[in-house]
C-alpha cells in the first residue's frame, strides 16, 4: 500500500484555469497532513482507514486535546477528496485540520476526524493526465460492454491542452440533434422547444475520438466507479458509474466501516459535489418503501437552514451546482446512520464583478439564457477576464463525427476555486467546524427530585436534557432509531423497581434543551445507594447517586 501523500508517477502540472492549484497540490496537502502530526504529536495522530482500489492508503487525521480519550469523546467527521473533480476539497480539509490544531482549546472534549482524501485514485489519475479531470476510482469498468476495458477515453483532440465538449453540427438521422446554441448567448447550449419552434441543431459529446470503432465517442473512459455515489441509500442500481452494488468499492466500504465502527460520530462535514446546505433537500420524496423521507425529515429543516446560514457566513459561498445526492456518502450518513451530515461544495459561482463605472448593467428584463447556472458562471468568467476558464467554440473536422465545434468550460473552471481562495475556504471550514464542536450535544441528568413516600419507598423524578445546541441525532436518526440512543439505567435490581423501567432507551434528544422526563418509584434500604447512569455512546457514562432521598453526587464521569 502506497502512502497517500506519495505521488504515483509523472506528476505534471495541470492546466491551471483561473489560477486553480496544480494537481501536485493534492500530494502537497497530504504531505502537509503528515507534517501536522509531527508538529502536533500530543493532539494529532494519523491512521489508515483502508486502501483505494489502486492500493493507495486512505488516511485519517485524528485530532483531540486528549488523544487517549479520543475514541470515547463525541466526534466530528470532516471528509474531503471524495471525487476527483474537486481536488480543492483535499486542501480545504487539510487546512481545516491545520487551523483546528492551531487552537486546540476550542476542541472542548470533541474529537475531530479528518479524512482529507477519501478517493485517492482519482487524484492519482488526474496527476498523470492533465487535460481533464476524472472523478472516479481506479476500478476498470467496461462501460460499453464490448469486452474491452477503458479503451475509449475522452481526449484532447484539438491539442488545446484541455478536454472540453464537442457539438456536432449536422448529426445524421439515427442520432437526432438534442441541443442548439442558445440564441441569447451562443456560447451556451439549450434544449429545443418545438412548441415555440425552437429547434435542435446539434448533438453534444465529450471531446474525444471513437477509438474502438463502435461509432460511439469517448464512451469507455479509464476508471472507474464514482465513490460518492456508491453508498446504499437511494443507490442507483444499474448506473454503471455507481458500482456493481452498493459499497462495491474499497474506498466506500472503508469509509462505511470506519463510520459504523465509530458510534461517537455525531456530525459530519463532507466536502465534495453533494450539497445540502445551499440546496436544502425537498422533504417530500420518500425512499422506496414509502415509510421514511428519502432526503430530508421535515423536522430537521429549521436546523439545516440555520447551519446553512452559518456556513454561508463563514465561507461566503452563495451558489452551488446541482447534483443528485442519491447514493452519496453524506446522504447515507444522514438517512442510514442518523448522523447530522452536512455536505458542501465549499465554493460556487462567485458574484460577477461590477461593470466598469459608467457602463450600465443590462436591464432586468433582458432575455436570459435557458441554462441560468452556466450563464452565471460565464458572466463571472467574462467580467473577471479569465482567459482559460471558457474555451471559445472552434470548428474542427472530427474523423468520425465530421464537422464539430470544440469548446466550453475548462474541466476545473466550475469545480475548483482559485488557488488563492483555498486557505480562506480552509479557514471557513475550520470556523464552521468550530461551531459544530461548540454546539456538540451534551445530554445529562437534571432536575433530580427524590422524596420518601413511605419507609423504604422513594419516588424519583428527573429529566434528561441536552445542553448542547445540536441534537444527539437529527430527527431522521431519531425516527429511524439508527442513531446512538441515550440510555438511562437504574442500579437497583428489577425487583426493587415498583414503577418505571430499570433501563430506558431514548432514540435521542433534540438540541438546545431537548428533554425527556424520568420517573421511578423504588424500594430501598436505609443508606442504600441508587445510581442513575446516563450513557450516550459518544461520551463516557455520567453517574448520579442518590442516598436516602438526597442526591449525593451528580455528573460523575465513569471511566
Amino acid at each position: 500500500m502506497r502512502p497517500a501523500w506519495m505521488p504515483s508517477t509523472l506528476l505534471c502540472a495541470a492546466l491551471s484555469a483561473h489560477g486553480a492549484p496544480p494537481v501536485e497540490s493534492v500530494a502537497d496537502s497530504l504531505a502537509l497532513a503528515r507534517q501536522l502530526v509531527t508538529a502536533h504529536p500530543r493532539t494529532a495522530e494519523i491512521m489508515s482507514i483502508g486502501a483505494s482500489r489502486g492500493g493507495v492508503s486512505i488516511d485519517c487525521l485524528r485530532i483531540s486535546r486528549d488523544l487517549a480519550a479520543a475514541a470515547v469523546q463525541p466526534a466530528l467527521l470532516v471528509v474531503g477528496g471524495l471525487d476527483g473533480s474537486r481536488p480543492g476539497t483535499v486542501t480545504i480539509a487539510v487546512e481545516c485540520a491545520k487551523r483546528l490544531l492551531a487552537d486546540p482549546e476550542k476542541l472542548d472534549g470533541v474529537t475531530v476526524l479528518v479524512i482529507p482524501c477519501a478517493n485517492p485514485d482519482a487524484f492519482q489519475a488526474n496527476a498523470v493526465q492533465s487535460a481533464g479531470l476524472s472523478l472516479r476510482n481506479a476500478r476498470p469498468v467496461d462501460e460499453d460492454r464490448d469486452g474491452r476495458i477503458d479503451e475509449d477515453s475522452p481526449c484532447d483532440i484539438n491539442g488545446d491542452g484541455v478536454i472540453t465538449m464537442m457539438r456536432r453540427l449536422a448529426p445524421p438521422a439515427e442520432t437526432p440533434p438534442t441541443h442548439l446554441p442558445d440564441p441569447v448567448d451562443p456560447r451556451l447550449m439549450r434544449t429545443p422547444d418545438p412548441a415555440r419552434d425552437i429547434r435542435a441543431t446539434c448533438t453534444l459529446h465529450v471531446e474525444g475520438l471513437d477509438k474502438d470503432g463502435d461509432r460511439l465517442v469517448a464512451e469507455d473512459a479509464v476508471g472507474g466507479i464514482d465513490v460518492d455515489r456508491n453508498f446504499p441509500h437511494m443507490w442507483k442500481e444499474f448506473d454503471r458509474t455507481a458500482g456493481e452494488m452498493p459499497l462495491s468499492e474499497p474506498e466506500s466500504l472503508a469509509l462505511a466501516r470506519f463510520v459504523t465502527n465509530r458510534p461517537n460520530i455525531y456530525a459530519a462535514l463532507v466536502l465534495g459535489r453533494t450539497d445540502n446546505l445551499l440546496r436544502i433537500p425537498d422533504p417530500k420524496p420518500r425512499e422506496p418503501s414509502g415509510r421514511f423521507p428519502a432526503f430530508l425529515e421535515e423536522a430537521d429543516r429549521p436546523l439545516l437552514e440555520e447551519l446553512a446560514k452559518r456556513w454561508q457566513t463563514a465561507s461566503g459561498q452563495k451558489r452551488s451546482s446541482e447534483s443528485d445526492p442519491s447514493g452519496s456518502f453524506a446522504l447515507w450518513l444522514y438517512a442510514h446512520r442518523g448522523v447530522l451530515a452536512m455536505a458542501t461544495q465549499a465554493w460556487g459561482c462567485p458574484d460577477a464583478p461590477p461593470l466598469p463605472e459608467g457602463t450600465p448593467e443590462p436591464p432586468n428584463d433582458a432575455p436570459k439564457p435557458q441554462d441560468g447556472e452556466s450563464a452565471q458562471w460565464l458572466l463571472w468568467v467574462d467580467r473577471s477576464a479569465l482567459q482559460d476558464a471558457f474555451i471559445p467554440w472552434k470548428a474542427f473536422e472530427h474523423p468520425t463525427l465530421g464537422a464539430v465545434e470544440i469548446g466550453g468550460f475548462a474541466p476545473r473552471a466550475r469545480s475548483e476555486p482559485p488557488a488563492a481562495e483555498l486557505p480562506r475556504l480552509g479557514g471557513a471550514a475550520a470556523d464552521f467546524a468550530s461551531q459544530l464542536i461548540a454546539g456538540c450535544p451534551k445530554p445529562r441528568l437534571t432536575n433530580i427530585r427524590a422524596r420518601t413516600l413511605a419507609p423504604g419507598i422513594t419516588d424519583i423524578e428527573a429529566e434528561i436534557v441536552n445542553d448542547g445546541w445540536l441534537p444527539t441525532a437529527p430527527a431522521m436518526g431519531r425516527n429511524t432509531k439508527r442513531a446512538s440512543p441515550v440510555v438511562v439505567s437504574l442500579s437497583l435490581p428489577k425487583a426493587q423497581v415498583q414503577s418505571g423501567q430499570r433501563v430506558m432507551v431514548f432514540d435521542g434528544l433534540e438540541g438546545a434543551g431537548g428533554r425527556r422526563p424520568l420517573h421511578w418509584i423504588v424500594q430501598t434500604s436505609p443508606g442504600e445507594q441508587i445510581h442513575i447512569d446516563l450513557r450516550w455512546r459518544p461520551q463516557r457514562t455520567l453517574r448520579t447517586t442518590i442516598v436516602d432521598g438526597a442526591v449525593t453526587k451528580s455528573d460523575e464521569v465513569l471511566p
Binding site: 467496461d142 460492454r145 464490448d146 469486452g147 439515427e174 470503432g213 463502435d214 461509432r215 446504499p232 441509500h233 442500481e237 444499474f238 456493481e244 452494488m245 452498493p246 459499497l247 462495491s248 462505511a256 459504523t260 425512499e287 422506496p288 418503501s289 415509510r291 421514511f292 442510514h336 425516527n479 429511524t480 432509531k481 439508527r482 440512543p485 440510555v487 439505567s489 435490581p493 428489577k494 425487583a495 423501567q501 430499570r502 433501563v503 432507551v505 450513557r535 455512546r537
Partner: protein, 586 residues
C-alpha cells in the same frame, strides 16, 4: 408368441442398462440420508463426497464465517466435457438460516445423487456432462453449529453469530433465551394467570387450548389458567424484557444488495449490504462466475416454491417472458413436490428487502427460486393441516414422543409460576428423519429439472446464398431448446453481464469480409436490421429466447471456396461453432 417375445425384450433391456429400473444406484459412498448432520459432520460428508468422486468434484473454501468456520463451495463438473466456467452452471445453496437444517442435507444429497448417477442414468449423465453445479451446503455454518450445540428452538438460530446489540443498550448478545427445564431446547413459557387466555386440554394436558372469547350465555366471561409468556428464558440484563438480545439477532437473507433496506425498514438487514463475512464472500464469488444461469436456495419450511419480487414496488422487474419461464418451471415443481405451492414472495408470503433470491434474479438476472422445504401438510398425507390433537398423535405414534417435552412448572424470576416445555427444537419445520431422504430426493429432482432448463443452443440452419457481385447472404438460425433464455429479459433490459456474441472469423485474411450484419426480424423475409458497427462481431443483448430461435444474417464479400467460422458465445451457455464455405455459384 408375442407376449413371450416382449418379456424377453424387456428382460434384455434391463440387463443391458443396469439402471433402467428404480433400484438404488450403487456408488462408492454410503452416506445415510435419513439423519441430520451437525456443522462438523457436514464438513466430513463433503470430504467423503469429494474423496469418492475426485474426477467430478472440486472443493473451494471461499472465506470464513464470523466464527472462523470455512465457507465451502463444491463444484461438480465433468472436465472431460469441458471446464466448468465454459458451461452453464447452477448455483445451489442451503442453510443461510442456521436452523433450517434439511436445506444442507438436500444439497449434500444432490451432490451424491448426481455423482452416483453419472455414467449410469442417462438423463442425469447428460445433465452433468452438459453443465456445471456450484453447491454450497451451508451458507451459515455458525448458525448450524449453534443450533446443534446450544439450546435452540425450531426457529433459532436463524441468525449468524456476529455479536449484535439488538436492544440498543450498548451490550452485545446479553439477553438470549435460557433452557430453564434442561431439555436442551428452547420451548415455550406459560405464566399462571387467573384471567388466562388458555387452559390445559383435559384429554391431553400437554395441549393448551385457547379459551373462547365469546361471553357465556349468562354474559359472564370465561378465563383460563395460563397466558403465553414467550419463549423460554429470563431477563438476563434486567431491562424488563425477556430474550430480546440473544446471540446474533439478524437475518443474512435480508443482507443482499438488491433493494437492500436498513433495519428501520427491513428488520435484521444488518448495518449495510453484505456486512457479514458469509454474505460478502458468497456475493463476490458469484460475481466472479457469470456462467451461473440458474439458482436454487433451500430453506424451510412451508412447502413453497418462491420467486421474487420481495416488494410490491418491484413487480415491474419481472417481465412477461421471464414470468413465463418461472411459471413453467414452478409448475413442474408443484407436480414433483407434494403439497408445495408456487408463490411470489411479496404477494403470497410477506415483504422481503435484500433477499438472496431477489439479488440473483433482479441484480444478476438469472432464474432463481427458493424452496421452503417440508410442510406439515405431509403429516396426514392428504394435504390438510393437522389439528393440535392430530399433531400430538403424530408426535406420539410416529415420532414416539421424541419431539415434545412435557411441561415443567417452575418459579420464574419475572413471571412467577410458569409452565416450561412443549415442542422441542426438532418438533417442527424439519421432516422427521424417516421422511428426510424423500424430501431431499424430490427437491433434488426438481432442481435437476430446473438445471435442465439452462440454455442450450445449436445452429438450427445455416443458409449461404450468393446475391451477386461476389456478395453472399449467410443466414443462420440459432435455437435454444431449453426453457431459460440465454439472456433473461431482466438481464437484457438492465444490461446485466455481457451480451451474447455471434462472431464471424474468416479463415484467410483475404476474406470473406463481412460488409453488414444484423438480426433478421422475420426469418422468412430477406430484410434484416444491420448493426451500426463491428458487423463481424454481432452483440446480441437480448439473446436467444427459451424454447425458441432467432435468425441473423451476414452479407459477406468473397470468393467461392473461401471459408469462415461462425461462433456463438455467451456467458450462460456452451459456445457453438459452425464452418461456412462460400459455394461455387448457383
Amino acid at each position: 408368441m408375442m407376449w413371450r417375445a416382449s418379456l424377453t425384450c424387456a428382460a434384455s433391456c434391463l440387463l443391458a442398462s443396469p439402471c433402467s429400473g428404480q433400484q438404488q444406484i450403487d456408488g462408492p459412498t454410503s452416506i445415510a440420508w435419513n439423519r441430520y448432520y451437525d456443522a462438523a459432520e457436514v464438513d466430513a460428508v463433503i470430504d467423503t463426497l469429494v474423496k469418492a468422486y475426485p474426477s467430478l468434484l472440486k472443493i473451494e473454501t471461499i472465506g470464513a464465517s464470523a466464527q472462523g468456520r470455512p465457507l465451502r463451495v463444491i463444484t461438480l463438473n465433468n472436465p472431460a466435457t469441458g471446464s466448468a466456467d465454459a458451461k452453464p452452471a447452477m448455483w445451489i445453496d442451503g442453510n443461510i438460516h442456521g436452523n433450517e437444517l434439511q436445506a444442507t442435507e438436500t444439497v449434500l444429497y444432490s451432490i451424491d445423487a448426481l455423482c452416483r448417477a453419472h455414467g449410469k442414468v442417462k438423463p442425469l449423465t447428460e445433465l452433468v456432462d452438459g453443465c456445471a453445479f456450484y453447491f454450497m451446503p451451508s451458507m451459515n455454518p455458525d448458525g448450524r453449529a449453534a443450533w446443534f450445540s446450544m439450546q435452540a428452538s425450531p426457529h433459532a438460530f436463524r441468525t449468524g453469530l456476529v455479536p449484535t446489540d439488538n436492544d440498543r443498550d450498548g451490550a452485545l448478545d446479553e439477553d438470549g433465551p435460557d433452557d430453564l427445564d434442561g431439555d436442551k431446547s428452547i420451548g415455550q413459557m406459560w405464566r399462571r394467570d387467573r384471567f388466562g387466555t388458555h387452559r390445559r386440554n383435559p384429554r391431553d394436558p400437554r395441549i393448551l387450548d385457547a379459551v373462547s372469547r365469546e361471553p357465556r350465555p349468562d354474559g359472564t366471561i370465561e378465563y383460563g389458567e395460563w397466558s403465553y409468556a414467550g419463549t423460554e428464558g429470563i431477563d438476563n440484563d434486567g431491562d424488563g424484557q425477556v430474550n430480546e438480545d440473544g446471540a446474533g439477532g439478524y437475518d443474512m437473507n435480508r443482507n443482499w444488495p438488491c433493494d437492500w433496506q436498513p433495519d428501520h425498514i427491513q428488520g435484521g438487514a444488518g448495518e449495510m449490504p453484505l456486512c457479514y463475512p458469509e454474505t460478502r464472500a458468497v456475493a463476490e464469488w458469484i460475481l466472479r462466475h457469470p456462467n451461473i444461469a440458474a439458482s436454487q436456495s433451500y430453506h424451510n419450511a412451508g412447502g413453497m416454491i418462491l420467486r421474487g419480487p420481495g416488494a410490491s414496488y418491484r413487480e415491474g422487474e419481472y417481465s412477461g417472458s421471464d414470468r413465463a419461464v418461472y411459471d413453467s418451471i414452478a409448475a413442474a415443481g408443484a407436480e414433483m413436490l407434494p403439497f408445495y405451492t408456487p408463490m411470489v414472495i411479496y404477494k403470497d408470503l410477506y415483504t422481503v428487502h435484500g433477499g438472496f433470491v431477489n439479488w440473483m434474479a433482479e441484480s444478476i438476472g438469472i432464474i432463481a427460486f427458493t424452496d421452503e422445504l417440508w410442510t406439515d401438510r405431509r403429516i396426514l398425507q392428504n394435504g390438510s393441516e393437522p389439528t393440535a390433537e392430530q399433531m400430538m398423535r403424530w408426535r406420539d405414534r410416529l415420532l414416539f414422543g421424541q419431539t415434545v417435552t412435557d411441561w415443567t412448572e417452575l418459579q420464574h424470576p419475572e413471571f412467577g409460576t410458569v409452565l416450561v416445555g412443549g415442542p422441542n427444537k426438532w418438533s417442527s419445520r424439519l421432516p422427521p428423519p424417516f421422511m428426510l431422504e424423500e424430501e431431499a430426493h424430490r427437491n433434488f429432482a426438481f432442481t435437476a429439472f430446473h438445471a435442465g432448463q439452462m440454455p442450450r443452443v445449436a445452429f438450427r440452419s445455416v443458409d449461404v446464398k450468393p446475391i451477386g457481385n461476389g456478395v453472399w447472404a449467410v443466414t443462420v438460425e440459432i435455437m435454444n431448446d431449453h426453457r431459460i433464455p440465454t439472456r433473461t429479459a431482466r438481464a437484457a433490459a438492465c444490461s446485466i453481464g455481457m451480451p451474447d456474441t455471434l462472431t464471424w472469423t474468416s479463415a484467410e485474411t483475404s476474406g470473406p469480409t463481412v460488409v453488414a450484419s444484423g438480426p433478421v426480424p422475420n426469418r422468412l423475409e430477406p430484410a434484416f436490421n444491420p448493426v451500426a458497427a463491428e458487423p463481424e462481431r454481432l452483440r446480441i443483448n437480448d439473446g436467444i429466447p427459451g424454447l425458441g430461435a432467432r435468425a441473423f444474417r451476414f452479407l459477406v464479400r468473397g470468393n467461392p471456396g473461401q471459408k469462415a467460422t461462425l461462433r456463438f458465445s455467451g456467458e450462460k451457455f456452451r459456445a457453438i461453432e459452425t464452418d461456412i464455405v462460400l459455394p461455387k455459384g448457383p
